[in-house]
């Protein structure tokens, strides 16, 4: 019973994600003049990555902590982009991880968006959901890539 519910949900996520992602791709294709410098290429692939994450977060909605964190970050990205990056860099340098499980948990916190504010339980739960969504995202992107490159 639970299993069914999960697949249904992820399916709807999948469809939503695929739709918005393809839409962004098409938009990018129309807008961006394809230049050949490596910087441009890198920038564009970065943008696609961001689009993938954001459309996943949009598909999930604000019900999940990690998607909320992504959405929040996206919203504020333009405003204090440089500032946040600098701050986060500093923090990372200063921090020294305690040994054992705690360091692993901290690592996980860094990986899961919005994980820094969570306690262990909710972190694990969010991680589970995040993993599920990521794998569907990868699947969809793979399918799109295969389809385009056929």
């Amino acid at each position: 019973m639970t299993q069914k519910g999960v697949t249904l949900n992820t399916n709807s996520h999948k469809i939503k994600f695929a739709r918005s992602f393809i839409r962004t791709l098409l938009k990018m294709r129309k807008n961006a003049p394809s230049s050949s410098s490596i910087e441009e290429i890198r920038k564009r692939s970065q943008r696609i990555k961001i689009a993938a994450y954001s459309s996943m977060a949009h598909a999930v909605g604000s019900r999940r902590a990690w998607s909320r964190a992504i959405l929040f970050k996206l919203r504020n990205r333009a405003r204090h982009h440089g500032m946040m990056r600098r701050r986060s860099m500093k923090k990372r340098v200063i921090k020294n991880d305690p040994p054992g499980d705690q360091s692993k948990a901290n690592k996980l916190r860094q990986l899961v968006p919005g994980g820094k504010a969570m306690d262990m339980c909710s972190l694990l739960e969010e991680t589970a959901h995040y993993i599920r969504c990521l794998s569907t995202q990868v699947k969809v992107m793979q399918t799109i890539a295969d389809h385009f490159s056929k």
């Binding site: 394809s34 993938a52 902590a65 909320r68 504010a117 589970a128 794998s135 799109i144 385009f148």
Partner: protein
């Protein structure tokens, strides 16, 4: 997971606790625990569920698979359940323990907030009143709980276990964490056999990293495909199916000489590595275990590993072919960079079968007139092998 922790008789008194939970929820927990809290509220009694629904199900508990078996149904079913029996509910030890845990976690917070909360929400107060009426008799029969105003901890210690509230709460928390861990273990492939929390966490971390890396590579690939489609107005939109029959293959396009010619100035080795990484992902398919993924990530930095050993397994021969595929294009576009790549090959792997490698590259260099065709053909070969 030890069932006797919760006494059946004491369970029904968990509901008032749930009320305080539900009531305090908007204030206490902010984001992090939303989902889990919602679940727990779903699991507890009928009334807190009513509250959760009335608040627009903001936590999306139905979303979550973890414990959802009970919370999957609508509110009506929950109401029924209450009538059925308390035993049904008492079997769900998880819910009680988790509620208990929450109580203990936000202990300090609760004490502070409790007063102000009652004033703030009138509608909730109503619900609470009705529920209190329901639960009063049950409460009378509970044994070990604190005075009614305080937190309700309905976990019983086994013989020999500590009974003070802190250790009880800690035990409940640990149980909850281990339960989540189990769910995660089911989710991450190849994680079932791993024993130990640290190792499991390691595995999870690696899996997430591999997934994120995959997303990165796929976005790179999509970028290449997308920009190509943008350049080519004929192929705009979704390509028809019969496009695959043309000798012109997109993967060859991505990995082939055009890309190389486009960036003659940049550090080609680096780009090559990037491409190699992309290909290794392409070839390996998506759902490799994290172990394999890690290996790929490591080996994609060393071209040599790909170039040398043909005998190990099919994947490596694939990569060998791929090297041959890329190098002639390098040769053509910029002759300087070739010795560099060779050196890299030599340093990384002393066992490299140099003769075969050279002959292969030379052969493909001789065909450099039709190198593009060759490349695409090979890549399509790779594709076929991959699909097999």
């Amino acid at each position: 997971m030890d069932p006797p922790l919760v006494s059946e008789s004491s369970f029904s008194a968990a509901n008032p606790a749930a009320y305080s939970l539900a009531e305090l929820w908007p204030f206490g927990g902010s984001e992090p625990g939303t989902g889990s809290l919602g679940l727990r509220m779903g699991n507890l009694g009928p009334n807190p569920n009513g509250f959760a629904e009335s608040s627009g199900n903001r936590d999306g508990s139905a979303e979550e698979s973890t414990v959802t078996e009970q919370s999957g149904g609508g509110g009506g079913s929950r109401k029924k359940r209450k009538e059925v029996s308390s035993e049904d509910e008492s079997s769900k030890m998880v819910s009680t323990s988790s509620a208990n845990d929450l109580l203990s976690e936000s202990n300090g917070k609760r004490m502070k907030v409790a007063g102000s909360c009652d004033d703030n929400d009138g509608s909730k107060a109503e619900v609470e009143a009705s529920s209190a009426a329901d639960n009063k008799p049950a409460e009378g029969s509970t044994q070990p709980s604190e005075p009614p105003k305080q937190d309700y901890i309905h976990v019983r210690a086994r013989r020999g276990q500590a009974t003070d509230s802190h250790s009880l709460a800690e035990r409940a928390r640990r149980e909850k964490i281990s339960e989540r861990m189990k769910i995660l273990q089911d989710l991450v492939p190849g994680c079932n056999k791993v024993i130990g929390k640290a190792l499991v966490l390691d595995e999870i971390i690696n899996y997430i990293q591999s997934l994120q890396r995959q997303v990165e590579f796929l976005s790179m690939k999509l970028e290449a495909v997308n920009s190509r489609m943008g350049m080519n107005p004929v192929m705009d939109g979704f390509p028809p199916k019969d496009l695959g029959s043309q000798p012109f293959d997109a993967s060859g396009m991505i990995l082939g000489s055009q890309a190389m010619r486009e960036y003659p100035q940049s550090s080609q080795l680096e780009w090559l590595h990037m491409q190699l990484g992309a290909l290794s992902f392409d070839a390996s398919g998506m759902m490799f275990g994290s172990q394999a993924m890690r290996e790929y990530a490591q080996s994609s930095t060393k071209m040599a590993a790909y170039a040398g050993n043909e005998r190990t397994f099919a994947g490596v021969t694939l990569k060998f072919k791929f090297d041959v595929l890329v190098i002639p294009s390098l040769l053509r576009s910029k002759k300087k960079s070739l010795p560099l790549t060779f050196e890299a090959g030599m340093q990384g792997n002393p066992l490299i079968d140099m003769d075969a490698f050279k002959s292969a590259t030379q052969k493909s260099c001789n065909e450099s007139g039709s190198a593009d065709r060759e490349g695409t053909g090979r890549s399509s070969n790779i594709r076929q092998q991959d699909s097999r």
